[in-house]
């Protein structure tokens, strides 16, 4: 046991000294989580076109309110035709038509109709229309307040509108968050809730496979032979090396979990189930890492072939895009990789409030992958040592 720990200690010390390894272990995953998280967050906003036909001040005010709404990406169009074409082409989910004379109509107390154009085939048109309606209603409330105030002789319409706007900003806001509660979500949450778990699965595996080069290098330097000449059983060397890979993988996974939770506000779901999932994934990565170190003949081969293999497995396994959007056949192929089961596990934990019991099947499959890979890598490493 002490010999195994000595092997683990030496390997971990080397990882700690390797700046390139630390970059790939620590910096790169966080950077990619930020980029992918920010990109995927963009999917939760809807593009809305605006055509101002001469609506005046009220129209400009409504446009600014839509731009500030956060979930609307507002694009202006010069004419009704241009906006209609944009809707038809799917460039925007809806187009809002601000009518001529809107400001004067409001000031004189007449009803104003704001038309929202949408393509029935567009899947986001309802969400877009609802978001626009919400902004229009907010603006409408301000207009009504200003109209009432000015009709009571408290000031001019413009003064009262400015006062109402100021008061609205000071008033406590009631936020509304939409959550799917039908337990049928097939994908991870948007934003960092998507990027953090998928990048955890991708990078922990990728780094382990790439660092198989270390085993190749150790073998070529004759260090395993030197270790084997000591009064140490082969099994101690194998266990020590595998434990080093496991420790690095687990450390990287925990770092991503912590940074995800503390910096990006990611909710990882049930702590116990998440912990088991992290540990099992680190075991899968450790097995794959040691195995790669026994398959390649040169460190360069391991460095050149390992990462692409890890990326392809990540693609197939749903680390780059949800498997729910691919064909049934590709989904089946994807589930030949451990990545798919890990992502499924995180989806259950993070999108469906899963528990240790509900992610049991995913955990069982991952345990099988971990056992198989570690067994295979042990056999191969023993052969290398012999």
């Amino acid at each position: 046991m002490r010999a195994a720990l000595a092997v683990t200690g030496a390997s971990l010390r080397r990882v700690g000294r390797d700046r390139r390894a630390l970059f790939f272990l620590v910096v790169l995953p966080i950077v990619v989580i930020v980029i992918v998280g920010a990109t995927v967050r963009g999917f939760s906003t809807v593009r809305v076109g605006v055509v101002d036909l001469g609506a005046g001040r009220a129209g400009r005010s409504l446009t600014v309110a839509m731009q500030r709404a956060g979930n609307l990406d507002v694009r202006r169009y010069p004419s009704l035709d241009a906006a209609t074409t944009a809707v038809a082409r799917g460039e925007v989910s809806t187009a809002v038509v601000l009518p001529r004379g809107m400001s004067s109509a409001i000031r004189s107390g007449r009803a104003v109709t704001v038309a929202v154009m949408a393509d029935r085939a567009n899947s986001t048109q309802q969400a877009a229309a609802a978001a626009v309606a919400s902004v229009v209603a907010e603006e409408g409330a301000l207009v009504q307040a200003a109209s009432f105030s000015s009709s009571q002789g408290l000031g001019s319409y413009e003064q009262d509108l400015a006062r109402a706007t100021t008061l609205q900003r000071r008033a406590a806001q009631v936020g509304v968050v939409t959550r799917i509660v039908d337990s049928n979500a097939q994908t991870l949450p948007q934003g960092f809730g998507y990027s953090a778990p998928t990048m955890l699965v991708l990078f922990v595996f990728l780094n382990a496979v790439a660092s198989g080069a270390v085993i190749v290098e150790t073998r070529r330097m004759g260090l395993y032979e030197r270790m084997a000449a000591a009064p140490v059983r082969q099994s101690a060397i194998v266990v020590g090396e595998t434990f080093a890979y496991f420790t690095v993988a687990l450390g990287q996974a925990l770092l991503i979990v912590l940074v995800g939770a503390m910096v990006f506000g990611v909710s990882w779901g049930d702590p116990l189930a998440a912990s088991v999932l992290v540990v099992l994934w680190a075991l899968v990565a450790a097995g794959a890492g040691v195995l790669s170190g026994t398959l390649f003949r040169t460190p360069e081969q391991a460095g050149a072939i390992g990462p692409p293999v890890g990326i392809v497995l990540g693609m197939l396994g749903g680390c780059m895009w949800p498997l729910s959007i691919v064909s049934g056949f590709m989904r089946q192929v994807g589930h030949l990789t451990p990545q798919a089961w890990a992502v499924d596990g995180w989806t259950d934990l993070m999108s469906r409030n899963g528990t240790l019991v509900s992610v049991g099947p995913e955990l069982a499959v991952l345990a099988g992958f971990a056992a198989g890979l570690i067994l295979l890598s042990t056999v191969r490493l023993r052969r290398v040592l012999a």
Binding site: A3, A6, G9, R14, M221, A228, A229, V232
Partner: protein
């Protein structure tokens, strides 16, 4: 590798009976159809430096790996201090210095030694003392905290040897420890090996440098094509040649043709071309020299210089194998 428990000899009675620290009998190892080591038997006593000489591919490293328990022999036995090498604990009696510098380049000298010391079950204060000791012995104390990757080739070699001495082995096995080393470091390594032998350690030393074997080894075994073709002290081996000399012809041209021409001269035992010269073993060097020069002229080679030397290990090797050792 299967490690089977050997017959118990905890007191080292057989070693005491034979006096050998290392005892190999009938060692044989084949790789596929190729027999790398063929019925090799040798013994090394305490305080003795045994040189295993042979060209590349002669079977030196395979023999050493069997001695250290890294390879199972197809036939034969290895015993250290009378105990079978298959007993894992016996390996603590051996200090193995491989041909490659088997150290982590990104760890410091001290970290490397501490790691390897732990594999030999050294702990705590004892480990620290041993690390200091071998660093001192190999003259690396002031570089202990530097990474090995910053060391020169000679320093790495010295540290490689230091790692084999950490646990105070009874048998030190050195596999070509001076390959690629500058003359100064080579001198330091050879002096260290001599002092270890003088201190009572049994040393098994492989090399293909004749002058190294000449300088440090008490006893020499000549290995060729996996077979131990001669064994003895340097004096015993040279005596086998009888009254023979070695003539070295430094020449240019077709060296193989020159060697063949030399072999045709009467009283020439053997001749071999190596590295721009032809080494000839003959009965009386000075008497045969004119005929050799005539033969050289007939072969078309241009002889630049001639040296007649007394028979040495190189002459023995040339005489026994018909080839010269290439450095």
């Amino acid at each position: 590798m299967n490690v089977r428990a050997p017959p118990a000899d905890p007191e080292g009675l057989r070693a005491a009976a034979t006096g050998h620290v290392l005892s190999c009998t009938g060692l044989t190892k084949s790789f596929g159809r190729r027999r790398a080591v063929d019925l090799v038997g040798l013994h090394v006593d305490a305080g003795q430096i045994y040189g295993l000489l042979g060209p590349n591919g002669a079977g030196k490293t395979t023999t050493i790996k069997m001695v250290c328990g890294l390879l199972d022999p197809d036939e034969g036995t290895v015993a250290v201090a009378g105990r079978d090498i298959r007993d894992l604990a016996v390996r603590a009696l051996i200090g193995y210095v491989p041909q490659e510098v088997a150290l982590y380049p990104d760890l410091t000298a001290r970290e490397n030694l501490a790691f390897l010391g732990r594999l030999y079950r050294l702990r705590g204060r004892v480990l620290g003392e041993r690390v200091d000791e071998v660093l001192e012995v190999t003259g690396l104390s002031d570089r202990a905290r530097e990474r090995v990757e910053a060391f020169s080739g000679g320093m790495r070699r010295r540290l490689n040897i230091a790692a084999g001495l950490l646990h105070h082995p009874r048998l030190l096995v050195l596999d070509e420890p001076t390959v690629g080393v500058d003359p100064q470091s080579r001198h330091a390594i050879l002096e260290r090996v001599r002092s270890l032998g003088a201190g009572g350690m049994a040393v098994l030393y492989t090399t293909h440098y004749m002058e190294e074997a000449d300088r440090v080894c008490d006893r020499v075994g000549i290995l060729d094509h996996g077979r131990l073709i001669a064994e003895g002290t340097k004096r015993e081996l040279v005596a086998r040649l009888g009254e023979k000399d070695r003539i070295d012809l430094v020449a240019s041209g077709d060296m193989e043709a020159l060697a063949a021409a030399c072999r045709s001269v009467p009283d020439v035992a053997t001749a071999a071309a190596v590295d721009g010269r032809v080494n000839v073993v003959a009965g009386d060097g000075r008497r045969v020299l004119p005929a050799l020069l005539e033969a050289a002229e007939r072969s078309g080679a241009a002889v630049h210089s001639v040296e007649v030397v007394e028979a040495d290990l190189e002459s023995v090797f040339l005489h026994l194998t018909g080839t010269a050792l290439r450095e």
